[in-house]
């Protein structure tokens, strides 16, 4: 623990301090409206502190490399959007709510900076535990409580599985420091195969545990119930923050930390991706509850992200001139970013549209929105088209990167890799299936007559978040370059040469 470590962790500390201060002061201050502002202030301070940092790789438990920086900026930006949406919280537990939100953001940031498996796990738990609070505080009534309990129990099991996996990793390498683990695993084969076998057990367990957070099939089954039983704000949170934490943890633990087991890793990721996106998209077709539908949609998007992870594991940076179209991890980061913006935007729009004391649940409640609230309907249509991957919106570039990456994985003689081509074909067909249910929402909004006069009561915060997300979606769609470049820079270096060639020959 050096001063440099502390310096790197300044934004996290500032944010955690804000959260604790809000927790404490909430007990004494009666006014409820100000906490979101305070939390937003904390995030801005953290951003200011982060802005003073540049990319600096260092040894020790934390690092300030490009991926860390990217993760923290992304986490803070999403945190800001969520805090905006939380502005209209009239419950007495408003300070606890925004405080927990901030702590979860700190958790994601920690996962991003961690270079030590203990710290990675700490970050993941710092995401999980506030999530229980958030889900519980979101809403009264039995259904939310049931969904919260469901999430709690499953999440605890998932954490235990990750921890168990990490113990195997420690057992294989004899260290908790990720670069050291990586170095020892590369030497592994020379020191005897059993070491790698142990690492592979760890790998499977880590995938399983993180798969829960990513809502990947078969660990997705909590998501529809939990989304349906909670608020739009919580659903927005769940669809983004745990997924981001899981993806970054996957990159840190598996891509960076476990070279030498990529063969198993990409196969697991590929199988999970194929099943996850197909299941999510197909089941979403039958949903009539908006949050349940969006839950399945978020499951499906987890699947697309896993395609990119599989590409990253199989092909590394994808050649001597890496770009987001060949580098799976850069594609995954980019996809996560554009998906997050659109998903948060959709939930912000739904939160904005919800009347006082009630939430929009059924799709029919959106009927005729194109006439009664043209602005909101247009924003939501843009966000949904982006989720469907229709150009020229941000989601299109995400899908471009993911599928180009999959096609770019070379098989045998520099041609196409049959498995990855199949995955890409399955992926694009899935995109077409997904368009069906996004279009259904758009169709309900525009093609049907209004059933009543909507009384939007989401407050200016939700409205601002929605507009910001819509503008970002359009802006990234028209000018994807800067974000793509940032993601390319954030993608970690290859620990080891692209392994797929050798594997193919040995297969």
């Amino acid at each position: 623990m050096t001063t440099q470590t502390l310096w790197i962790l300044m934004p996290e500390m500032a944010l955690a301090f804000t959260a604790v201060a809000i927790y404490l002061a909430g007990a004494f201050v009666a006014s409820r409206g100000i906490w979101a502002w305070r939390a937003g202030g904390g995030i801005v301070v953290a951003m200011a502190l982060l802005a003073t940092q540049s990319v600096q790789a260092m040894a020790g438990p934390v690092t300030g490399d490009a991926l860390a920086l990217w993760t923290r900026w992304a986490a803070l930006a999403v945190g800001l959007l969520l805090v905006m949406m939380a502005g209209r919280n009239r419950e007495p537990d408003a300070p606890e709510y925004v405080g927990s939100l901030l702590l979860a953001v700190v958790g994601v940031m920690l996962v991003g900076t961690a270079q030590d498996i203990v710290l990675v796990f700490l970050g993941l738990e710092l995401v999980s535990i506030p999530t229980y609070l958030l889900l519980y505080m979101g809403h009264g009534g039995p259904a939310p409580q049931e969904s919260t309990l469901k999430y709690f129990f499953l999440s605890v099991v998932a954490s235990a599985i990750v921890l168990y996996g990490l113990s195997f990793l420690y057992g294989a390498a004899g260290s908790t420091d990720l670069p050291t683990i990586a170095a020892r695993l590369i030497e592994g084969p020379e020191r005897g195969a059993p070491v790698l076998g142990v690492a592979e057990i760890g790998l499977i367990l880590i995938f399983a545990g993180l798969g829960f957070k990513l809502a990947a099939v078969p660990l997705h089954f909590y998501a529809p119930d939990v989304y349906q039983g909670t608020t739009h704000l919580n659903a927005a949170y769940l669809s983004v923050v745990p997924k981001a934490a899981a993806l970054i943890a996957l990159v840190r633990l598996v891509v960076e930390g476990m070279p030498g087991v990529e063969t198993s890793a990409w196969r697991i990721a590929m199988a999970m991706a194929a099943v996850t996106m197909t299941y999510g998209n197909v089941v979403a077709l039958w949903q009539t509850n908006v949050r349940r539908l969006m839950a399945y949609s978020s499951i499906a998007h987890g699947g697309y992200i896993l395609i990119a992870v599989a590409v990253g594991l199989a092909a590394g940076k994808g050649g001597s001139h890496p770009s987001a179209l060949s580098d799976g991890i850069a594609a995954a980061l980019f996809y996560l970013a554009v998906y997050s913006v659109a998903s948060v935007g959709v939930f912000a729009a739904l939160a904005f549209l919800s009347p006082r004391g009630k939430q929009i649940d059924h799709l029919d409640e959106l009927a005729g929105l194109g006439r009664t609230c043209p602005g909101t309907a247009a924003a939501m249509a843009v966000l949904l088209f982006s989720l469907a991957g229709i150009p020229p919106l941000a989601g299109f570039w995400g899908k471009l990167c993911v599928f180009a990456g999959a096609l770019n994985v070379s098989g045998g003689t520099g041609g196409l890799h049959p498995w990855f081509v199949s995955l890409a074909v399955l992926g694009v067909l899935n995109a077409a299936v997904a368009a069906a249910y996004y279009l259904r929402i758009v169709g309900v909004m525009y093609f049907r007559f209004p059933l009543g006069t909507p009384r939007p009561d989401g407050g200016p915060g939700s409205w601002t978040a929605m507009i910001l997300c819509t503008l970002l979606t359009i802006a990234i769609g028209l000018h994807a370059g800067p974000l793509l470049r940032a993601c390319e820079k954030a993608s970690p270096e290859d620990m080891n040469a692209p392994p797929i060639q050798a594997q193919l020959e040995s297969d």
């Binding site: 520099g414 041609g415 077409a432 279009l439 793509l484």
Partner: protein
């Protein structure tokens, strides 16, 4: 390397002219977008803005079309700006626009039909009018962009983007089954086009790995050039072709993938039908010409017999189903299936005549069918029914409408002197040439001749259902459906007014022009078409050589003979009788 010339040769007046044209081309795309943003207010204001925009764009497009030089293959009016590149990375996606001898006609057609689309709903659209015209202008920008794009990503962006406005146009202003039709249209097209996208990406990545430039170029021209030198592996080519086929064949639509079309046409508002039939279907055939032929020539040649079978099936099936229709819009929709079958037949006859005819047929079908849909829309506005059985003898009530109907019908069935004749004739000659005088894969000789004759039968069926439609609706004793106009001021349906006449007149003039002077178009189009079909021609020649070499070797067994025949085949020419020799060897 494709940055437009004017920066290099600033003082040359011709380059200054080209750069000016580039700016003009860019404005034709930006103007509708700007119009879409600015339009607002009630329907009067909205439609005025839309009309002015469409007219200005049409004039600019006309300038581009008429200043297009004959006999050139160079991109005309090129604009090229980096869009998505990375610092050190290889990605090179560009905002690259330009016209060539293929796209310029479809570009002009789009600009013209956009004006028709605005005027055809002039009175009918009152509800949410500003949204309607906004979507119409966005659709216009998207369609113009599809034909002007010279970068694969840009092409795909415009290609997909056209779906969104049309989805809303059908879904909001369509008739009874509009929601179902809008969804089906969108999903059908999307399902195909995502596969097309994968195919195009595969081409780009192949080129990236094999061209040795270290740059991932998305420029269509550059890819075509590279792949002409080092073609894609045949196996991969087939995969690429199938992927391209999925999207473009649905768009055309080729039998049996046409099921979305009648529904979308019937349910769409008149403007939607005009643009759908007039422009959007052409994106399919355009895609085949632009991408499939030059990028996957081996696969195209391999798939040729099957593509021709499907085209002929589309011609005959579309025509026969059209005969049985009771709804005017449905009838014209099925006639589109048949006519687009002709376009595909000409295209995949894979000779110069066929592709030229195909291009003429594309433009002519756009004019004729676009006009017919507009006309049906005008009749529907007066009587609120499209059932053929409800009408009779309308020529007495609406002589002008009858005139336009007849001219467009005659053009559509290929009366000499009108556009349809030029197109269909060239297509049929191209097909006959292929069947009787061209290279035909072994075992398909007879089938090809049947195709050619079947296509002629398709022309006859086409004349039958179209003329029968005109006879039933416009001639015989006057029979009008109960008049249910929502507008109280008009007591009896009147003939076409000045606005409607002005809408249809340019279409008739143009179709006459194509019919009388097709060489104006062909002179400008054929160099580009030849270039696009050149890789396919090379593959055909090579297969010819291989086949002849093989058979000669087997039958004669003399090396000298083999060498002789190879040289003959390499200098193969359509007029050369020798080109049939290997086939006769194989069939005898």
């Amino acid at each position: 390397m494709f940055i437009c010339g004017p920066f290099l040769l600033d003082n040359d007046p011709y380059y200054r002219f080209l750069s000016l044209m580039g700016e003009l081309l860019l404005s034709t795309l930006l103007l509708p977008m700007a119009g879409a943003v600015m339009v607002g207010g009630d329907y009067r204001r909205a439609r005025r803005v839309a009309l002015i925009t469409a007219l200005v764009v049409a004039v600019m497009a006309a300038v581009l079309v008429f200043s297009f030089p004959a006999g050139s293959t160079a991109p005309f009016a090129a604009v090229d700006v980096a869009w998505l590149g990375t610092d050190a990375g290889p990605i090179d996606v560009r905002l690259s626009l330009g016209l060539d001898g293929l796209s310029v006609w479809l570009f002009g057609l789009t600009a013209l039909l956009s004006v028709v689309a605005v005027t055809v709903g002039w009175e009918a659209v009152r509800q949410q009018a500003s949204l309607y015209y906004r979507l119409l202008m966005l659709l216009q920008a998207g369609m113009l962009g599809v034909f002007a794009a010279r970068d694969i990503i840009l092409f795909y962006v415009f290609f997909e983007f056209t779906l969104i406005p049309l989805f809303f146009l059908i879904g909001i202003w369509g008739s009874e089954q509009r929601r179902y039709a809008a969804n089906k249209f969108f999903l059908f097209t999307l399902a195909g086009s995502v596969l097309t996208f994968l195919g195009l990406l595969a081409v780009v990545l192949w080129d990236y790995h094999h061209s040795g430039t270290g740059r991932m170029t998305f420029s269509i021209a550059e890819l075509t050039e590279h792949l002409a030198v080092g073609p894609i592996d045949p196996g991969v080519q087939m995969a690429v072709f199938l992927a391209l086929f999925a999207g473009f064949a649905i768009k055309v639509p080729l039998f049996p993938l046409h099921t979305w079309l009648p529904l979308a046409h019937v349910e769409a508002p008149a403007a939607g039908s005009v643009l759908l039939a007039g422009v959007l279907l052409k994106i399919g055939t355009y895609g085949f010409l632009r991408f499939a032929l030059p990028l996957a020539p081996e696969a195209v040649v391999t798939a040729m017999p099957w593509l021709l079978s499907l085209s002929v099936a589309a011609i005959l099936y579309g025509g026969l189903v059209a005969l049985a229709q009771k709804d005017m819009k449905r009838l014209i929709a099925y006639s589109s299936v048949s006519h687009m079958g002709f376009c595909m037949l000409g295209l995949f006859a894979l000779n110069a005549l066929g592709t030229q005819g195909s291009l003429l047929q594309m433009v002519n079908h756009g004019l004729a069918t676009g006009g017919l849909f507009a006309l049906v829309g005008m009749i529907y506005e007066r009587y609120h029914t499209r059932q053929i059985g409800d009408y009779g003898g309308l020529a007495r009530r609406m002589p002008r409408a009858a005139f336009f109907m007849l001219v467009l019908t005659l053009s559509s069935i290929g009366l000499p002197g009108l556009g349809g004749f030029a197109g269909e004739l060239l297509i049929l000659v191209g097909m006959f040439d292929r069947a009787w005088a061209g290279a035909v894969p072994a075992g398909w000789q007879m089938a090809y001749r049947v195709f050619a004759v079947g296509a002629v039968a398709g022309v006859v069926v086409g004349a039958w259902y179209m003329l029968w439609l005109v006879q039933r609706v416009f001639f015989g004793p006057l029979r009008e459906p109960e008049h249910r106009s929502t507008d109280e001021t008009t007591s009896l349906p009147t003939d076409l007014n000045a606005r409607e006449t002005a809408t249809l007149a340019p279409l008739v003039v143009l179709t006459l022009w194509i019919g009388v002077w097709p060489s104006f178009f062909l002179d400008r189009a054929s160099p580009t078409l030849d270039r696009l079909t050149e890789p396919v021609q090379r593959v055909l020649e090579r297969r010819q050589t291989e086949a002849s070499g093989c058979h000669a070797h087997a039958r004669v067994g003399m090396q000298v003979e083999v060498a002789n025949m190879s040289t003959q085949a390499w200098t193969w020419h359509p007029e050369n009788e020798n080109c049939r020799y290997p086939q006769e060897v194989s069939t005898s």
